[in-house]
């Protein structure tokens, strides 16, 4: 189920602009189609706090690169913008490697960059998806043969929610790591399965996602991942903004250690 976080009714001919960190997107409704264009900026002029500002009644600049045209026979006037989780897993890298002794289960917090999807009318598939801030790609795996492509995120793992920098366009994830193995568990980097996480808006302000518990099983090279049911913070109003992109059959699944912890 999708919630229209921001929805506009656009009369024919009107265009809106959406600022991201490094480019400006222009969306114009024309009589039989929607046109999507973008203008790259040489230097990011838009701070993250100001990003995703939507301006109405703008004129399409001449230097805008027309990127896509959405042709439809029906008259659709609504444009919706919905935040969701990234389309690949996210790799968080703590500033220094973290060692977790046997039997301990500390909490960590990490802020996950959100993607935004643009929908036209009641279509179930988005017109485009984009990040407000560009994320570098990285490879997560034991070697260059086995592994997966992920986005690397700058925010590290912190142990208190107050230590998280106030960053807009991010959802907070609580991760609990339980080490049942007699050996210390060393975390150089952590592969966070963003595609299995939903996005909630808490009290109309912050974005949160369900907590994740990672358990390092005893004397095996396997981990169990447990997805929580709801957000772990206190709230008065909770709104599900977007469902997970992928669903796992069970709330607890087993994965290879090397697929999650690097």
């Amino acid at each position: 189920m999708l919630q229209a976080v921001e929805a506009f009714q656009l009369p024919p001919g009107e265009a809106v602009s959406i600022e991201t960190h490094e480019e400006t997107l222009f969306i114009q409704r024309q009589p039989q189609q929607w046109v999507l264009a973008r203008v790259n900026r040489e230097a990011p002029a838009c701070s993250l706090q100001r990003a995703l500002c939507i301006e109405r009644n703008v004129t399409m600049p001449d230097q805008a690169n027309t990127w896509q045209r959405w042709s439809n026979a029906e008259q659709e006037s609504t444009l919706r913008i919905v935040p969701c989780m990234a389309d690949k897993n996210l790799v968080a890298r703590p500033t220094q490697p973290i060692l977790i002794p046997h039997g301990r289960k500390p909490y960590f917090y990490v802020s996950l960059p959100l993607m935004y999807q643009l929908y036209i009318g009641n279509n179930k598939r988005p017109l485009i998806e984009f990040f407000v801030e560009k994320l570098p790609l990285t490879w997560f795996g034991s070697n260059t043969r086995r592994g997966e492509l992920c986005y690397e995120i700058e925010s590290g793992l912190v142990q208190s929610i107050d230590e998280l920098p106030a960053a807009p366009h991010r959802a907070i994830l609580e991760v609990r790591v339980h080490n049942r193995d007699p050996e210390h568990l060393s975390i150089d980097k952590l592969n966070l399965p963003a595609q299995f996480l939903p996005v909630y808006r808490v009290d109309g302000q912050h974005y949160w996602t369900c907590p994740l518990t990672i358990t390092n099983e005893k004397l095996t090279d396997e981990l169990s991942l447990h997805y929580g049911k709801s957000v772990p913070c206190r709230h008065e109003q909770l709104q599900l903004i977007s469902e997970p992109r992928m669903r796992s059959e069970a709330r607890t699944i087993l994965r290879a250690l090397e697929a999650i912890i690097g």
Partner: protein, 274 residues
Amino acid sequence: MDILQQVLQPLQGADGGAWLRALGYLLLGIVLRNILIHGMRKYVDTHTSPHKAILFRRAMSYSIVFIFVLIALSELGFHSGVLLAVAGVLSVAIGFASQASTSNFISGLFLLGEKSFKVGDVIAVNATRGEVVSIDWLAIKIRTFDNLYVRVPNDDLIKGHVINFAKFQIRRIDLNFWVDLGTDCVQLEDILTRLIQPHTDFLRDPEPDLFRLGIGVLGLQVQWSVWTQTEGFFDARSKLIDLMLPAMQNAGVVITQTPSVVQGQDSSYRMPYP
């Protein structure tokens, strides 16, 4: 001639009804083949690799047509036992006469089991590089980058080297060049690393590396290696070169002449791909 007459003799006794029934069986076979192949296409396409799907469809098509041809011939008075015996004798004769085809066929079976490549992969076999468009029992078909259609016998694939450029998700871009002996390699590596950081085409991990390969008459030979996605490899390589040249010029790094003669003497020299 006696054998041929013996085989064709039933045709003389076949009446109009037998011919109609035979034709009906043939049509039924073709219709049934089409229905089965179309019905199973969705399942086969989603549960097997593209080349196995092609082979499966062909095997099924030939089997159904063969069975219905046998039934039609039986209606005309042929004895299937005689036909099969003739087919057996013929197949042995053809087998001896076409050893190359048999070898290719068996090589094709090995290739199928190995799963070294699939339809759509970009491979290099001997001097041919291109996209695999079809994998068949006797040969594979490749479309080269200049749009030529090349048939490569399966036997060649088993005996020779095959490079699959699309097997893994990521690839390394290697740029070899020579710089002046006075170049500060640590500083150069730092410049090049910072240069690619804002660009999402290049992967953060595995980390880029500047290898110092050796010292020669032309100066210091280095290799700048950056990882990227296999999909979009060529665009990333062009972008890397476009970024590097002005940055190195601005930093005062002197690239010495391209040592094509010197590198050509080295057996490890690799042709640029494609």
